[in-house]
């Protein structure tokens, strides 16, 4: 991700903002992202205009000190740089594949309406050259969905681009990140098949007593277990930056969400190791819902320190994943399978799940990777303690 197009301001000059407030929506290759502000104060000036394409890290607005609203302006106003960042290092060098740092240029980009639009809708609108402002949304809270864009086009949309026009933006973003990963990261892989029958039975029993809103999925248990294991094996949890590996103090677990319009996103939940299982579940639910409607926050896409990618409840038994730079570990979880399993002196049909950890050999070795997978196995054996 090198640039984003500003589609919406959610603040005006004079507004007071607190750290973490969402102030703008930017359309990127990865879909629409909500931009948060990293300081508190009063918005004094909006520097970026709707429709403008800005390089990552470009200042978008000026925020003054909270107390300087009086007649005496205190000198230095700080520039906020709330543009989405690929990594949190202060001065990320341009990536090899970046098409040079172009100065901000206005582009004929459709500004979005105040309500959101789904990623598929935004993509279709962009491809068809439709201004989202002219589209009436029929989704939740007036969100624009694919059908609305198609209705605007008058007819069914051509489902695929003409041959030769290349990849969609989302595909390009995935391709760029994965190519960079495979080019720069010496991956190695360690796998472990774990019996998940006890944790599945435990969950079924818990969920039977709960209303749907409070039910917990195996995916949430795995994310929590990965966070606990990441805290035990520091060499797998963090970012590989120019200066080398920087282990993280927190376990921010990224979760790969497959988008039905094509492509995927991997937003992360922060401090998963310190959350209760119910909170992890609630956090995942919220994030998946927002990913579907195109309302992820910029920080969610950059704060991950280790990512979990699951094949879901049905499907193939194993996958070997590609690490998301600048992270150094990716845990791929296969779909649970019923397999013959040795229990005590006999063999029984049991539910087992195959875990494959992809790890960065610049940072760690098979020993640590193995320790990580065994730590997850231990967590899954005692789900009530999660």
């Amino acid at each position: 991700m090198e640039a984003g197009t500003l589609v919406e301001w959610l603040v005006n000059p004079g507004d007071t903002v607190a750290r973490g407030d969402v102030v703008a929506v930017v359309e990127t290759q990865k879909g629409a992202i909500e931009i948060e502000v990293f300081e508190a104060g009063t918005v004094t000036e909006l520097l970026a205009e709707i429709g403008q394409t800005l390089p990552v890290g470009a200042p978008m607005a000026r925020i003054g000190d909270d107390e300087e609203t009086g007649a005496e302006p205190k000198p230095p106003e700080e520039e906020t740089r709330p543009a989405p960042k690929e990594r949190s290092a202060p001065t990320p060098p341009a990536e090899a594949e970046a098409p040079s740092e172009k100065p901000a240029q206005p582009r004929q980009e459709p500004p979005a309406s105040a309500a959101g639009a789904s990623p598929a809708a935004r993509r279709a609108a962009q491809e068809a050259g439709i201004d989202l402002v002219q589209v009436k949304g029929s989704g939740p809270q007036g969100a624009i969905v694919l059908a609305d864009v198609e209705a605007q086009m008058g007819q069914a949309t051509p489902t695929s681009r003409p041959a030769g026009e290349g990849l969609s933006d989302m595909r390009q973003a995935v391709a760029a990140a994965m190519s960079r990963s495979k080019r720069e990261i010496p991956h190695f892989y360690v796998s472990h098949t774990v019996e998940t029958q006890p944790v599945s039975e435990w969950l079924a029993q818990q969920n039977a007593e709960r209303p749907p809103a409070e039910r917990i999925l195996l995916g949430a248990v795995l994310v929590k277990a990965a966070a606990m294991a990441a805290r035990q094996v520091a060499a797998l949890n963090g970012h590989f930056t120019e200066g080398g590996f920087v282990p993280s103090e927190t376990a921010n677990i990224g979760v790969v969400i497959s988008l039905r319009g094509g492509g995927l996103v991997a937003p992360a939940l922060a401090d998963v190791d310190k959350m209760s299982l119910s909170d992890v579940m609630a956090g995942l639910r919220d994030m998946v819902t927002r990913a579907r409607s195109g309302r992820l926050r910029g920080s969610e896409l950059t704060r991950g320190t280790l990512t979990v990618s699951s094949l879901g409840e049905d499907g193939a038994e194993g996958m070997t994943g590609v690490i998301f730079p600048p992270q150094v570990g990716l845990l791929a979880v296969g779909a649970p399978q019923i397999r013959p399993w040795v229990t005590g002196a006999g063999v029984e049909p049991r539910q087992v799940t195959t875990l494959v950890l992809s790890a960065d050999h610049r940072v760690c070795d098979g020993r640590q990777a193995s320790r990580f997978l065994v730590a997850i196995q231990d967590c899954l054996a005692r789900p009530e303690e999660l």
Binding site: S118, P119, A120, A121, G139, P140, A143, V145, L146, A147, E150, A204, N207, A208, P211, P212, A213, R215, L217, L218, G219, S258, L259, R260, G261, L284, R285, V288, T289, R292, S293, G312, E313, D314
Partner: protein
């Protein structure tokens, strides 16, 4: 409530949970996971929405009963007729 009504409600809630699926393209026999690509989180969100809307709590063991719009509308109508 008859099956036509439960079907409409089911499709409405499906559209809320998965705004990226065009409701006009959903067929009665489409499988939520295999054809419409819903994942386990989407299914749970749908079940939660149906619980809030109809006060029918669908246990996990009954998820197979709502795997297509046709099966779901029949199942929901049946559950609504049942005395609690």
């Amino acid at each position: 409530m008859n099956e036509t009504e439960t079907r409409a409600i089911f499709l409405e809630e499906l559209n809320r949970v998965a705004p990226d699926i065009d409701p006009a393209t959903v067929r009665d026999t489409d499988h939520l996971q295999d054809d419409l690509d819903l994942d386990s989180m989407d299914i749970l969100n749908l079940v939660t929405a149906l619980h809030a809307r109809l006060d029918v709590s669908i246990p996990e063991s009954d998820y197979k009963e709502i795997e297509t719009p046709r099966k779901a509308s029949g199942y929901l109508a049946r559950r609504l007729r049942e005395p609690e």
